[in-house]
Amino acid sequence: MTAPLLEVRNLRVEFHTRRGTLTALNDVSLTIAPGEVLGMVGESGAGKSMTGAAIIGLIEPPGRIAAGQVLLDGRRIDNLRYDQMRQVRGRQIGAIFQDPLTTLNPLYTVGRQLVETITTHLPLNPAQARKRAIEWLEMVGIPAAAQRIDSYPHEFSGGMRQRVVIALALCAEPRLIVADEPTTALDVSIQAQVIALLKRLAREKGTAMLLVTHDMGVIAETADRVAVMYAGRIAEIGPVRDIVKAPNHPYTAGLMASIPPLDRRVDKLAAIEGSMPRLSAIPPGCAYNPRCPRVFDRCVRERPDLLDAGTTRAACWLHAHG
Amino acid sequence: MRAFFDSDLWWSFTRSRITVASAIVAFICIGGAFMAPLLAPHDPFDLASLQLMDAFTPPIWTAEGNPTYPLGTDDQGRDVLSAIMYGARVSLFVGFAATIFATCVGVLVGLLAGYLGGTADALLMRIADIQLTFPSILVALLVDGIVRAALPREVHDQIALFVVVFAIGISEWPKFARTVRGSTLVERNKEYVLAARVIGLSKAKIMLQHVLPNVLGPVLVIGTLNLALAILAEATLSFLGVGVPPTQPSLGTLIRIGNDFLFSGEWWITIFPGVALIVMVLSVNLLGDWLRDALNPKLR
């Protein structure tokens, strides 16, 4: 196995509120190799977006990284100063968010934003950068890129805007992309186009990607490996095929079973009863134990770490041996 | 009540020292003013008790100070401290009454304009726009002038207080109307309002039971800030001599009267009412600022 590009070690993110400290992320460890796409799924509030934010150094107070390390190419980036982190974020890590409008500055033309990013991070003069910017817009599939480069963000449609955001995230040729629900705000037909685009560009440029989404279909199509989050922890992590087809954690199994199938009608969908606990009320032992159909006494007493479970690693006592 | 002390609002209140301080000051001001008949050392309106001999007594800490009159006396021998307390009562009454009046009109107009939309909205908001182009002092002078001209003097003096309240309130309501209209436009399209419309509830019921409770947050903020403004407006009017009748002097009246003696050396007659006014307005304003931040989810 090649050395990982990104390594997250025992990451813990806490929020200090007046009602005590909430642990939003607890003991999260993962690696992403160059050219690899790691999908991250989970219900809202499970901590998947928080993981992305922690990696790109955008945890907002009162939240903070309380423990653990984030290493990019073996170098710690979680303790960098704000301006140093900004360098890393533009040059080494590109970020794509759900709402393209939060990334694009409405007051500047798309071209100006691209050129600025390119000249900041790459040794190119403005003319070369503009040429590069047009190339990028063509690459992400914007028709008549040479003319549209001087348009403002609001002159693009939602799908086109997300393409511009992708161009903006990729134009400094980062080695890692953190994409947080990049297709959620888009319609199905546009979503498919954007996923195909992301996949192709990551493959062509050898860029590693953390793809955060709640849509298992997107993960199944795009990711190489998947991390399933539950109540701030990784419940299971492994190759996408095994997670989807042969999950080892009861939560992953429940999650997969509850997805309504497109190709047949089922009389009663397999739902997971109850809902994910709030951060302020995570039960002792395994956080999933109140909803788990296979719960036994150890689950209530003791919290499981990630254990080897054949092809994947699952935080579940069912896989404890000896 | 327990829920209140457990709420985020109370928590953010106790966390801000300046807010707690201004709340205490505001409480003392308001309490002192409303209980003036009980707390004030003298009754400034009781002509019988006035001692002309004691006129122009300076404050207690000066050489000629008299412990009976902690902040000195005016030209008639009235105790300045008592006059301030009674004056603050009038000022606060006008401030509160004008703000409540403006709030009622503004909330009603804003709610109707925002919820009904269309022509009603256009009409009401244009009236508000026109109202906003007149400075409040001008409106107050205008109203006062009309009332003075239309009514005999005795009647005018009797209702003068309410004329001031009306004059200040009428110039302040557009601010409330605009805010409430904005929030109403947001709330009326929320699904809980649609749910009520599906049931077929009347517009009045939806506005009062659903929309109104959800647009009151910002109203509370402007209301508090506006209270400070209204007190100042009253002081300005009274200073100009078109405000409350001289028989019920407010802080503004006291400042005006005292102003005549400022250059003859009796500075305390005007300075102390002025300080009282500043302290009162400032504390209320600070409370309003805190409330605005505390209720703004973006700043939390």
């Binding site: 199905v188 199944a220 509850s258 309504p260 497109l262 047949r264 969908l269 | 699904e191 749910a195 049931i199």
Partner: protein, 324 residues
């Protein structure tokens, strides 16, 4: 139960009169819904699917009378909708469930008051205790506890709030429920709970649903009949099984093609190109023609009407001519 005939709703999206005058702009209308017809038999579910801006939510609102139609008619149980809406005894028979569980409950009301609102409005039960008992019963019916009535909406999770929404809708003993994307704001495991609950309620109470969704997989689970909408029109309408096994309209096929594949068969999908055009200036003829692989000159010029094709009603020249 419900019949919509050539239903249309236009919105005036022109700028204010003065600005329009200065810029010499004509009035602009948005044809959110443009000639939609369907019937929903008692006890059945009709679903409308489509991408954002296709007008499906507007249809939902037209059908419960939140908007008056610009054209066409809606009949509720064989009476014109406006007549039915004017009569409380008829009005209580229709209810609506909304998408956003955070906006559909008044944050300042206790849950018991939220659920009791229709009961009070229609004077269905008399007396405080009787109302409270009924609320408790409704809460139990949707899988919550009667004691939850004392709480405020913010104390519940998204799925629980949606249950409260359903309890409120059920409180007036409705027969017809309009469900506007009831699960699209929910997590997938909770979505399954809500869908199961809705199906179970339909069985036990004999409810009729108009179900609005953008998620084809969800639609397949709940529908008897499905209409696919594009730019304010129904392009294909068919019994659910027929639509999913033999989609006929090129747009329906493109939609199904676009859904990411969970089975990982490794097939390469050919995503449909282009974007949904603006409903303010829709393309001429068939609105789908700029994105359609089968489009020809006739599609650009002539608006296709819904024609029967097998069990389906399809508005497509290519299907009609056998080119599909």
């Amino acid at each position: 139960m419900l019949e919509a005939n050539d239903l249309a709703r236009y919105f005036d999206v022109s700028r204010p009169a003065l600005q329009r005058l200065i810029a010499r702009e004509p009035r602009r209308t948005l044809r959110a819904v443009d000639g939609v017809s369907f019937t929903i038999p008692k006890g059945q579910t009709l679903s409308l699917v489509g991408e954002s801006g296709c007008g499906k939510s507007t249809v939902a609102r037209l059908v419960v009378g939140l908007y008056p139609p610009s054209d066409g008619t809606v009949a509720f149980d064989n009476q014109p909708l406006s007549v039915a809406r004017a009569d409380p005894a008829q009005r209580q028979r229709m209810q609506m469930i909304f998408q956003d569980p955070y906006a559909s409950l008044n944050p300042r009301w206790r849950v018991r008051d939220i659920i009791a609102e229709p009961i009070r409005a229609f004077k269905l039960v008399d007396g405080k205790d009787a109302i409270l008992a009924r609320v408790g019963q409704l809460l139990t019916q949707v899988g919550l506890a009667p004691a939850d009535g004392e709480k405020f909406p913010h104390e519940f999770s998204g799925g629980q709030r949606q249950r409260i929404s359903i309890a409120r809708a059920l409180s007036s003993n409705p027969e017809f429920l309009v469900c506007d994307e009831p699960t699209s704001a929910l997590d997938v495991s909770v979505q399954a709970q809500i869908l199961n609950l809705m199906k179970e309620l339909q069985r036990s109470l004999g409810l009729t649903y108009l179900f609005i969704s953008h998620n084809l997989a969800v639609v397949r689970q709940v529908s008897d009949r499905v209409g696919v909408m594009y730019l304010g029109r129904i392009v294909e309408q068919a019994p659910a099984e027929t639509l999913f096994t033999t989609p006929r309209h090129p747009y329906t096929r493109a939609l199904m093609e676009a859904i990411p594949d969970l089975d990982m068969t490794g097939r390469t999908r050919i995503p449909v190109g282009g974007e949904v055009p603006s409903p303010i200036s829709p393309p001429s003829g068939c609105a789908f023609h700029p994105r359609c692989p089968l489009a020809n000159d006739r599609c650009k010029a002539e608006r296709p009407l819904a024609q029967p094709a097998g069990e389906s009603l399809v508005a497509c020249h290519a299907v009609e001519e056998g080119r599909g």
